[in-house]
Symmetry: C2
Subunit: 440 residues, 2 copies
């Protein structure tokens, strides 16, 4: 059963189906009027649907007056249904056009629109985000989210093939999951709850049931960032696995990244062209740099970071020419720079099995081997200034048979940014949320 219908008009084609070989065939199309040009004898109308655009050509002398009346009532971004005949045409972009016999207006437009949805009139990001639904109609913006869709398809294919089980952990939690980072409080009936920052503790627990788990979903950080790479609601791609360590999950992470690039190259040619992006295949295995090596590189650039301190974005940017177009790992971070659940080296507890996954100067994922002993976890909570009593439920699970385990969290929006060379995370988020923006 065809799924696109409208009353007695049943869609026969999408724009991308229209080609010279169908010359003479009847067609029914639906879409938005992208452009109208009245050339006197001819009217050209560009119709946009989910698959692209197609040209409608109206020869005034051949057209009924009723059709011409309808066309006269149509403006840019109007939604229309079109009945017509396909005509091979050398002039038309796809080698064929449609000569309409009937047009029906399905949705009108009130002018002026707050934004030009073709993208030909440039607009500031805030103007664009205020009229996001129009901004999303720009070919470039749509391309981003088509690619996002394909990243998710490739990722889930990867997880399914590797035996990961999809989990749905709670967003409403009674206390901080990660500690440190700020939480959004929620009025939960007569008490206070918080929005989860990550599935971290739940996914660690769930390896005791499923061994390999993954989750893709929204998480929340109440940090008052005001940068181009932070939003307060973001999409995390998380995995956690039992009986493995950081090296193993780094191998999974680089393989996933490589699979995603291969998949996009094959399935998003048009959208990548629209964005003018040529994807480069990461060469596996990616390079692993230790924290100490990065510190040495920084020193070479005249940037002094005391051992044990975190590395900030300006520092990474100083290394940009050393890591141009490079995906790489940074390993062996000082334990004190990492979250409480990251495992310290057995022979040198100052060093940890935490890692960051980087592209050029930006962190796009982080992970590590996790602590699997309760006493060590309690010690680390204390060292982080956190109260083990707030983690009682979680700590208890370490007495029920906790295997060694490791995992990571990948920022979906960050991945889109680096793949597509986009500098503002708001561009790759359908309806971004930041400190100043809660609408649309």
């Amino acid at each position: 059963m065809p799924l696109d219908t409208l009353g007695d008009r049943r869609r026969t084609h999408y724009s991308s189906d229209i080609k010279a070989e169908l010359d003479g065939e009847e067609t029914v199309l639906f879409g938005w009027v992208q452009d109208i040009r009245d050339l006197g004898r001819l009217i050209f109308l560009t119709l946009r649907d989910k698959e692209g655009i197609v040209q409608l050509t109206i020869h005034k002398k051949d057209a009924s007056s009723s059709l011409l009346d309808k066309v006269a009532g149509v403006g840019k971004e109007y939604v229309v249904g079109v009945k017509g005949r396909i005509r091979a045409s050398r002039e038309a972009a796809r080698g064929a056009e449609v000569v309409p016999t009937d047009i029906k207006i399905l949705g009108a437009v009130k002018y002026p629109l707050p934004l030009d949805p073709t993208g030909r009139v440039p607009a500031e990001i805030d103007v664009r985000l205020n009229a996001r639904i129009l901004d999303l109609r720009r070919p470039q913006t749509r391309a981003i989210f088509n690619i996002c869709n394909e990243i998710l398809i490739a990722s889930r294919t990867f997880f399914n093939a590797h035996g990961f089980v999809e989990i749905h952990t709670p967003r409403l939690i009674a206390s901080a999951t990660e500690g440190g980072a700020a939480l959004f409080p929620v009025e939960y009936f007569d008490r206070k709850a918080y929005l989860a920052q990550s599935p971290q503790l739940y996914k660690e627990q769930l390896v005791t049931v499923f061994e390999k788990v993954y989750e893709v979903g929204p998480f929340f950080r109440a940090e008052e960032h005001d940068t181009r790479r932070h939003v307060n609601e973001f999409t995390s791609i998380d995995i956690e696995q039992a009986f493995v360590d950081a090296d193993d999950v780094m191998a999974i992470l680089e393989q996933l990244t490589s699979d995603v690039v291969v998949h996009l190259t094959q399935s998003c040619r048009g959208d990548l062209e629209t964005l003018g992006v040529e994807l480069k295949m990461p060469k596996l295995p990616l390079r692993r740099y230790t924290y100490d090596q990065i510190l040495a590189e920084l020193q070479g650039k005249g940037v002094k970071i005391d051992w044990g301190e975190d590395i900030d974005t300006p520092a990474y940017r100083a290394l940009q020419d050393l890591h141009r177009e490079e995906y790489y790992f940074i390993t062996d971070w000082p334990t004190k720079t990492k979250a409480f659940y990251i495992k310290p080296h057995e022979d040198n507890p100052e060093l940890s099995y935490g890692f960051d996954f980087m592209y050029e100067w930006m962190e796009i994922a982080s992970g590590g081997t996790r602590i699997d002993r309760k006493e060590l976890l309690i010690q680390r909570l204390h060292e982080k200034g956190l109260d083990p009593r707030d983690f009682e439920d979680h700590l208890n699970t370490y007495e029920y048979g906790m295997p060694p385990h490791a995992g990571w969290a990948f920022g979906l929006e960050r991945l889109l940014m680096v793949l597509l060379g986009i500098e503002n995370i708001r561009e790759v988020t359908l309806f971004p949320r930041d400190r100043y923006r809660l609408t649309p």
Copy 2:
């Protein structure tokens, strides 16, 4: 590269790989000790991993004293790595057992456990939910979430095949999306936000960009339910599509349900057996009953519902023998029973194009043709006692070229309940959230 490693021990098999044909081969396994029985000359140890269980048999006279010491230190639910040799055995459940040569304890257990994770000792639901991570180790509970994983695989395969684009709509919103139902307030920096109850308005807007969209994710209702079919955080499977009506999206919904059942029948045989469930194929097309027909059925059962009133669960239960094991639609609901965005019939505005998707007495999805004209939407908001000013951003989008559209929302947990014959939604939610439960 094998992904399961642990130091120098690399996993060679999962429990389900162990079979008579591998007689004599070396093996390395990881898992949890499900059971230990010391029979004097022999010790039987059952090892559980993500794929199932396998028997380890230790012949005391052949075993090293070091191995026997290690086995003596192992208890139920301990995490162990096992090295050994596969031995064909008629007595072992899978036609083969493993004779260990070495055992390493990777995670200990502190007794008593708050719950018997084999499920042999029955426990009240609250006791089980308090120790959920142990409850999840019961074969029945694990089976539910393996099946949940396969439902999601089948659903996304369906959506991808039909050209739906995955969307991620905001969970943090500035005002009520649906009106009516209660919202959880969030302290969002210096102002108030709310947790989204559904992606409803965003998905409607997004059909103007992608035509066909879907989202799977957590949503929140602050209703003070205290029933076995409500939780306050749930997983919604949502679609929305342009240029179609309720009939079309009902066809999609029944096809998806059918595809899911076919997929589960093929890929979850073991888990369905564990649960003692035999899935019945829904026969398409499913029956469509009008609201009026259901009212007449109710009258036949002596249950009086005034026309225009909603139908409550006790009423549906009165019809149980008429709809036994039946998936069905109820269409043509009175407009006033439905949300403001559901389209009224053109020729009789008292009736709407809203529908419910039912199994026996339970609603598992609802949807309909949506209103696509701004004035009518404003009128319906007023009729519902809602203030159009709270919906300004959304209403504006109806002036940018809004196509006719329709969609539905499917409750993932509700689907699991009806497929598996489970009566409490908390059983099919990893970590359920209700008015009284915010942990674990």
